[in-house]
Symmetry: C2
Subunit: 243 residues, 2 copies
Amino acid sequence: MPKAKYDFIYKDLKNKIEAGEYGFQELLPSENHLILTYGCSRNTIRRAVSALVTDGYVQTMQGKGVRVIFEPTQQTSFTLGGIESFKESALRNHQTYKTKVIYFAELTADEKIAKKTGFAVNSQLYYLQRLHYLDNRALILNHNYFLKDVVPFLTPEIGENSIYEYLENILHVSIVTSKRIMTIEKMTQIDEKYLELGDYNCLAVVSSQTYNSDGIMFEYTQSRHRPDYFRFQDNATRRPALH
Amino acid sequence: MPKAKYDFIYKDLKNKIEAGEYGFQELLPSENHLILTYGCSRNTIRRAVSALVTDGYVQTMQGKGVRVIFEPTQQTSFTLGGIESFKESALRNHQTYKTKVIYFAELTADEKIAKKTGFAVNSQLYYLQRLHYLDNRALILNHNYFLKDVVPFLTPEIGENSIYEYLENILHVSIVTSKRIMTIEKMTQIDEKYLELGDYNCLAVVSSQTYNSDGIMFEYTQSRHRPDYFRFQDNATRRPALH
DNA sequence: GCCGATTTGTCCGTATGTATC
DNA sequence: CGATACATACGGACAAATCGG
């Protein structure tokens, strides 16, 4: 399915690692070997391996080889970094999901909103509050701001489904970059009203700015997560991760 | 200082973006132009630009150019993702820091510890509890586990300074990959004793496994952060980020 | 709408350096 | 020391997307 060769090889190696064909702490076949296996150039192999490195699947060692550092048992599902919609991650984990729009409005960004979201003052925006349910539990309360120029004709009905599907399939807006900041905040009255927080008095807040393929920021979202279901995974590589 | 050409170009472009020489929403010079500027091959330019993409500084657009999406005003300091020691980030932000070792022990991993940390059962470990102060406020309580095989002769004195400096400069252990998971947990009695949590009843917990250049996991750390000072930044790129 | 110029994306082959064994 | 393995760099070819005439 992937048309790019390096992407095919990347996915193929990834599958084999996940299946245990290349086990934890083992070495991958050498580059020269992989070149013969896949019938491609060295650059293409290196690109595929490089992607595995940034995913935290393997680690390259000059002069030695490429070591698998992926443990199938350690892996948990849910947010793995990368950009993924709520619907996508729910489906991937075989959970039932539902989204409810609890507020829908059109507004013009004033100073305060501009500063908070990063949109220019006087930008025309849609503002939604959406509640995300997983297996019938209200887990996430989203405050979404969308730039009308890029996302026209937004409705509560679209909000109930997946806005990302609307963007990609109908508007053909492709999402490229997302800058996120995670913090912890005290709960507000709105949080308390809609999320079952138990005896927690704070929650995880993920603020994100999303850019389309023209490099235009068209979305600002603040995601407020029920703390006991919040989990964020991340792989960091020191300095030159081959880039 | 950087000996690799692509790294020099990467840093040079990055500096110019941060200085505003290439402003927000502007396009970088085309690849062909940069080739002439830096006197190198196209691959080398593309590698440098690729690194800027993963850093969230620019976004490439096929047929159009490379757009700068870095806003100097929006940038805040502190954790930017990547691996950085407490001392490094404190220094970078011109803050005073101090580390206090409140517990130091050697132990052998039992079933429970093995499961929690990811070390093998019967691994010989050092276990430290360390308290990190920034500007005289206790912000982070760390539970560190180090594999003795890789980190021998660890002492409380070294723990008071930077363990990472000891690793890199004395033992010549280079840190390559770190897998992190962020969650929110209720505070414990130990947290309450050492961190000033105000009226928060929970805190940010970052659990990380760190690998050395041989692909051996030698550190498991659980970092417990005072919530009002916790902040984690991240850039996500959808699918092929050039990899 | 077509065409050519520009710009980024993919892929190949080769040469040389550095680290490991 | 030689063989092996990854790292860096160069050059060239063609594809795909964009833009202007």
